[in-house]
């Protein structure tokens, strides 16, 4: 099971960042605990922070960042191991609309690199703007699956 999990990245609504670690350490932690060598970590962490636009904040702690920035760190941690699938549980649930747009753009960029992004959301605006595949669930049962759906 742990080895299968390495192919899946997780993004949480409440970020789940470690407050006593810096941005870089939070991201590096995800590689370190699956046994990646130090030289790999040193190379991959700055690269992923560059991708999410946080190169200048790598030594800050989560408490010093805005909500949007914290979610970017969370995305960087989830994506740093280049998983096949990224599961995002209401990633914009704690963010204002403008910041949410930035997060969605980032997830879209990640999706274009070949990683499947599965996102759970109740945000009508995001679903309608993205116009991507929509799967609607009702009490755990799929009731709709559209290639380019909108919120109904």
């Amino acid at each position: 099971m742990p080895y299968l999990r390495r192919n899946i990245g997780y993004i949480f609504q409440d970020f789940k960042l470690l407050p006593n670690k810096t941005v870089a350490e939070n991201v590096a932690f995800a590689l370190e605990v699956i046994g990646k060598p130090r030289h790999v970590i040193k190379k991959q962490v700055p690269a992923i922070l560059e991708l999410v636009g946080l190169s200048d904040k790598m030594n800050n702690r989560p408490g010093e960042l805005s909500g949007g920035e914290q979610q970017r760190v969370s995305i960087a941690r989830a994506f740093v191991n280049r998983p096949l699938i990224l599961l995002a549980d209401e990633p914009t649930g704690n963010l204002d609309p403008q910041t949410s747009v930035g997060i969605m753009k980032l997830l879209d960029r990640i999706n274009r690199t070949g990683t499947t992004v599965v996102m759970a959301t109740h945000d009508r605006g995001i679903v309608d703007t993205m116009r991507r595949r929509v799967i609607e669930l009702d009490r755990g049962v799929i009731v709709r699956d559209q290639a380019r759906g909108v919120y109904e």
Binding site: P2, Y3, L4, F29, V33, I34, K36, N81
Partner: protein
């Protein structure tokens, strides 16, 4: 992929530091319990060495002159074997006496070098039918002063008292150390459970990103082992002091003759040290394994 030693050491250090007060209490408890455990063994070795010749119901020893004639030896043997008051005896010849001497004085090879087997007096270790002190004294007196006999030494009430006291004190130390070792195991468990709860969010992330169970467990288990090893070191220092300032003081050549031989050889001290370390590691692994399997994998 294997866990990196740097990561393991760093995380173990973090765990220990976060619970420094509990860690210190655990280390001290382990140290004291192992000190008692080790002291029991050292004390037992020392008493066994001091009373070696009085084991197995032997109540008096007839020491022969090394130069005694065959006839004199035969007369003494005849007196022992025909006496209805003597149940059993053991003859220790010069070679066996020399081996025993070498064992007792293994720490002082210079003494062994100057003594030869020929210089060792052979002896008869006698088990009387009735171990009553008065009877033994009267019986031993029958051999004292006979031709070829160097001296007759009897195990008096004091030696029996020492053996009895040593047995009781040893039992007390043994039981006490086991109770404390049980407490130490529970402290290690509590310490690790506390560390696991402190690091709950980190453990959650580790599981989410795919860290293996062993990768998560190892720093916590090392925490328990580290506490035990430091505790064992403290116990070792205490045992060294116990040997140096208590046991060796008793066996002081200028001290009581009765306690001559009350000492622990280097080999016995080494064996005890290894035993203490092994017990520490077993205790820590038991405590750690229970903690990680019950509270970490849940």
């Amino acid at each position: 992929m294997a866990i990196s030693p740097l990561y393991a050491v760093r995380e173990t250090g973090v765990n220990l530091w976060r619970n420094i007060l509990l860690s210190t209490a655990t280390i001290i408890t382990i140290g004291v319990s192992l000190l008692m455990f080790g002291a029991f063994f050292l004390f037992d070795y020392a008493v066994a060495n001091a009373t070696q010749r009085w084991e197995g119901g032997i109540e008096f020893v007839v020491w022969m002159n090394p130069e005694a004639t065959d006839e004199q030896n035969a007369n003494i043997l005849d007196a022992i074997t025909t006496s209805p008051e003597i149940l059993d005896y053991e003859f220790v010849d010069q070679a066996a006496a020399y081996e025993e001497f070498k064992e007792i004085f293994s720490d002082t090879p210079e003494l062994i070098e100057v003594v030869t087997p020929e210089a060792m007096p052979p002896s008869y270790r006698v088990v009387p039918v009735d171990p009553d002190a008065d009877v033994v004294e009267e019986l031993a007196g029958q051999f004292d002063g006979r031709p070829g006999v160097k001296t007759v030494v009897s195990a008096n009430d004091t030696i029996r008292g020492i053996q009895d006291l040593a047995d009781r004190a040893g039992l007390f130390l043994f039981i006490g150390s086991f109770v404390l070792l049980g407490a130490a195991t529970l402290l290690i468990l509590t310490n690790i459970v506390s560390a696991i709860r402190n690091r709950g969010p980190e453990i959650e992330i580790m599981k989410v990103v795919g860290a293996t169970n062993w990768f998560i467990r190892i720093p916590f288990m090392l925490e328990g082992v580290a506490q035990a090893v430091v505790g064992a070191f403290l116990a070792w220092v205490g045992l060294w002091a116990f040997d140096r300032y208590v046991i060796e003081e008793f066996s002081d050549p200028d001290g009581l003759e009765l306690l001559a031989g009350f000492q622990v050889s280097d080999n016995e001290f080494f064996t005890t040290s290894i035993l203490v370390l092994a017990i520490a590691i077993v205790v820590s692994i038991v405590g750690s394994l229970v903690a990680v399997t019950r509270y970490l994998d849940a």
